[in-house]
């Protein structure tokens, strides 16, 4: 909230400006409360991802209907996971006539940088019913270690 010192006030001001400023401030306040707890970010790049962090692993999931396992390529470089693939739902038959076309065909490529170091050797990816699940085990130095406290 911006403070306005008494001396900063202009001599002749529009009293409605002050009301407008208060209203905007209240709007902003209510908006920040409404969005709390719902930290959903809109994805700009296909596919949208959900990432979960567990104690020993990271799980990345995406909904990619119509993508075949052989058309999907997943690679890891450092801490950057990249997912590439293509979807081809077009029909070569010219005798059919479309009434609706909402499903798109094309390529996609997405890279995300993971917040922790992962073990390059222990990555598994599964594609089932159009849902991709990539499980990445954290590197040994990134997993939490229990430290026993010894009493003297």
């Amino acid at each position: 909230m911006a403070f306005i010192r008494f001396t900063d006030r202009p001599a002749f001001r529009n009293p409605w400006v002050e009301f407008e400023r208060i209203r905007q401030g209240l709007d902003e306040l209510s908006r920040s409360y409404a969005e709390k707890g719902k930290a959903q970010i809109r994805a700009n790049v296909y596919p949208p991802l959900n990432i979960y962090e567990e104690a020993d692993k990271m799980v990345v999931t995406a909904e990619i209907p119509g993508v075949k396992p052989e058309d999907l390529e997943i690679s890891l470089e450092g801490e950057t996971l990249s997912i590439q693939g293509k979807r081809d739902s077009r029909q070569d038959d010219f005798t059919i006539s479309y009434h609706r076309r909402e499903i798109e065909s094309g390529n996609f490529s997405r890279a995300v940088s993971l917040p922790v170091k992962v073990d390059v050797e222990k990555i598994s990816a599964k594609l089932a019913n159009g849902i991709l699940t990539v499980t990445l085990m954290k590197a040994a130095e990134a997993t939490p270690r229990q430290i026993r406290v010894n009493a003297d």
Binding site: P47, Y52, E54, G66, E102, N129, I131
Partner: protein, 132 residues
């Protein structure tokens, strides 16, 4: 055309007739509908739905496609959330006469394909006019 990049399509929530008693999310899946001489085919994106969760029905020329999914539970902390899983529901009014008995549905890679064979058109009957 194959060089085209896939865009993120915003999930549209399905408009249900009446409200659901359970507070669950229903999305309207993206569909392709095409017609051949023999049939009408509806293709819908329903990622996460298992064959048991699919419910296709045709009643009074209204085709209802419903896909229910078990949302996989992930433990741990959510670092990034860009989509919210949900069930799928969409209805269409079918203009053609469909042979109800032969409707088929198949599911592959999260894509549902419903084949609606057209009923054989009634043979036009010529009526001879007698001149009396």
């Amino acid at each position: 055309m194959s060089k085209q990049e896939l865009k993120v399509q915003e999930k549209q929530s399905a408009r249900a007739q009446g409200e659901h008693t359970k507070n669950e999310i229903y999305y309207a899946p993206q569909v392709d509908i095409y017609e051949t001489e023999q049939e009408v085919v509806v293709v819908a994106d329903v990622p996460g739905v298992l064959p048991e969760g699919v419910d296709v029905s045709l009643e009074d020329n209204v085709l209802t496609i419903q896909g229910r999914r078990d949302v996989e539970q992930h433990g741990g902390r959510m670092v990034l959330e860009e989509y919210e899983p949900g069930h799928y529901l969409r209805r269409f009014t079918v203009a053609e006469t469909i042979d109800q008995e032969r409707i088929e549905a198949s599911l592959a890679d999260g894509v549902l394909r419903v084949r609606l064979p057209k009923a054989a058109p009634a043979q036009p009957k010529k009526i001879a006019v007698k001149i009396g």
